[in-house]
């Protein structure tokens, strides 16, 4: 890694730190308290931001999976798989914060709404992706096979969403019609949270790719010593 990349990484790290602090301020102090739901509504900013990052991360996995199939360079596979790992983390956060919010507001922890169900299916698809990577030994096969899951899985998501939407629906449609009745200060807090989380994602991706490349180097050196 050259000094330029190190500099970029440092800038992203500090930006993340600052942006997350700002996002916390906006979510907890700046944004008004929701009249009906009260404090529990605050979870919304981080819930939506995590959902956005999860989808964005899986999109990056999809993109780099296509690149892996064309160009076998190690770094692309590393980016695809690292992004999927981070996506799983944020997807898990979505699936945990959602029920915490839903219990007092809807009265149930879980409901089979399209967005909830699609997120759950998404989570399973990418857990499968990571498990496959654990269980395939040859590096080139691992890269190609997981790229297939990365591509097929991402294409499958809108079809899953459609099918479950026809099945049933009750999720609040916040993103429709320019905010859908969201207070402008709340919208501001949401946008800042999304930006902060995007930087958090980038910072995590940078580090995970670096660790992945180092792991490969160690594996390579170990093999060299053994032979």
């Amino acid at each position: 890694m050259n000094s330029n990349e190190k500099k970029i990484e440092k800038i992203i790290d500090y930006l993340t730190l600052i942006l997350i602090s700002i996002a916390l301020y906006f979510a907890f102090i700046y944004a008004p308290l929701e009249k009906v739901m009260g404090a529990i509504q605050k979870i919304f900013y981080f819930h939506v931001a995590s959902a956005w990052i999860a989808f964005f991360a899986f999109f990056i996995t999809f993109l780099f999976s296509i690149i892996v199939l064309i160009n076998e360079k190690k770094i692309y596979d590393e980016i695809a798989s690292s992004s999927a790992e981070i996506g799983i983390i944020f997807c898990t956060i979505v699936l945990i914060t959602g029920p915490i919010w839903a219990k007092p507001v809807w009265g149930v922890w879980w409901t089979w709404d399209p967005r909830l169900t699609t997120t759950l299916v998404l989570w399973f698809i990418y857990v499968g992706y990571l498990m496959l990577r654990k269980f395939v030994e040859e590096d080139d096969k691992k890269a190609k096979f997981s790229a297939v899951v990365g591509i097929i899985g991402f294409i499958d998501v809108p079809i899953v969403f459609m099918s479950i939407r026809w099945w049933r629906t009750i999720h609040p449609n916040v993103l429709q019609k320019g905010g859908g009745g969201l207070h402008p200060d709340m919208l501001k807090a949401l946008i800042i949270a999304v930006i902060a989380f995007t930087f958090l994602y980038l910072s995590m991706l940078f580090k995970r790719v670096k660790v992945g490349l180092l792991e490969d180097k160690i594996k390579y050196l170990e093999n060299k010593i053994r032979n």
Binding site: I125, I155, I159, W166
Partner: protein
């Protein structure tokens, strides 16, 4: 194009001859699907009214689970003795070999359904084909094809992993959500109302799934198996 279809046909022919000799795949699928049908019947009390509403779901669970079983068996047959690697060395289109496997898996699935569905209808005392013969038949054909396309791809991937057949359902089931959901819904609609109009969106969904994944796999398959 002519050679492409010929290759597909030859692969199907090879699998059929092998299967006629051993009958391993079709027998194990059939017995397993019947077992699922029987075991699932303990969900409701004998003669319960609501059983008609869940019957299509149970049938599709039987098809899904025994389908996974059959896919594993048929792909392990290819791996044993390096058969698949030898096939891929042949100077023909690789995706033709793949689609040959898809069609033979599809054929086995249809054969299994041909025997399971009538027995199922006797046990559950319902006639799925009563109100809408063609529609119901279409659901079985299009649904099974979608199942075979993704199933064959992921059985190819999962047999190369360390956990072998364990990996297939983990990868496949979340991706098959649209097929399973749409097949069950359209079977229910056909059984209760026989109306093509109400079920048409579900049938379209299965159609979109089949076409999209056939095209995607056709495009990416050559990149996946290149040595």
């Amino acid at each position: 194009m002519k050679n492409y279809i010929k290759t597909i046909f030859k692969i199907v022919e090879k699998d059929l001859i092998l299967e006629l000799k051993s009958k391993e795949v079709i027998n194990s699928m059939l017995i397993f699907s019947l077992l699922v049908v029987i075991v699932f019947s303990f969900i409701f009390e004998p003669g319960a009214e609501y059983k008609d509403e869940i019957a299509a779901g149970i049938l599709w669970m039987a098809i899904t689970f025994s389908g996974v079983l059959g896919l594993n068996k048929s792909m392990i047959n290819e791996i044993n003795g390096g058969n698949l690697n030898a096939l891929l060395l042949a100077p023909v289109d690789r995706s033709a070999i793949f689609f040959g496997k898809v069609f033979s898996n599809f054929l086995f699935l249809m054969l299994m359904e041909l025997m399971t569905v009538p027995i199922f209808m006797v046990f559950y005392n319902i006639n799925l084909f009563e109100k809408q013969f063609i529609g119901t038949l279409l659901v079985f054909i299009a649904g099974s094809y979608g199942f075979s396309v993704l199933g064959t791809l992921f059985s190819l991937i999962s047999v190369k992993s360390k956990t072998r057949e364990l990996m297939l359902p983990l990868l496949l089931l979340p991706l098959l959500v649209p097929i399973i959901l749409a097949s069950i819904q359209s079977l229910n609609i056909f059984y209760f109302s026989g109306s093509f109009e109400n079920a048409s969106k579900w049938l379209k969904l299965i159609g979109v799934f089949d076409i999209v994944f056939t095209c995607v796999i056709y495009i990416i398959f050559d990149f996946v198996v290149e040595e």
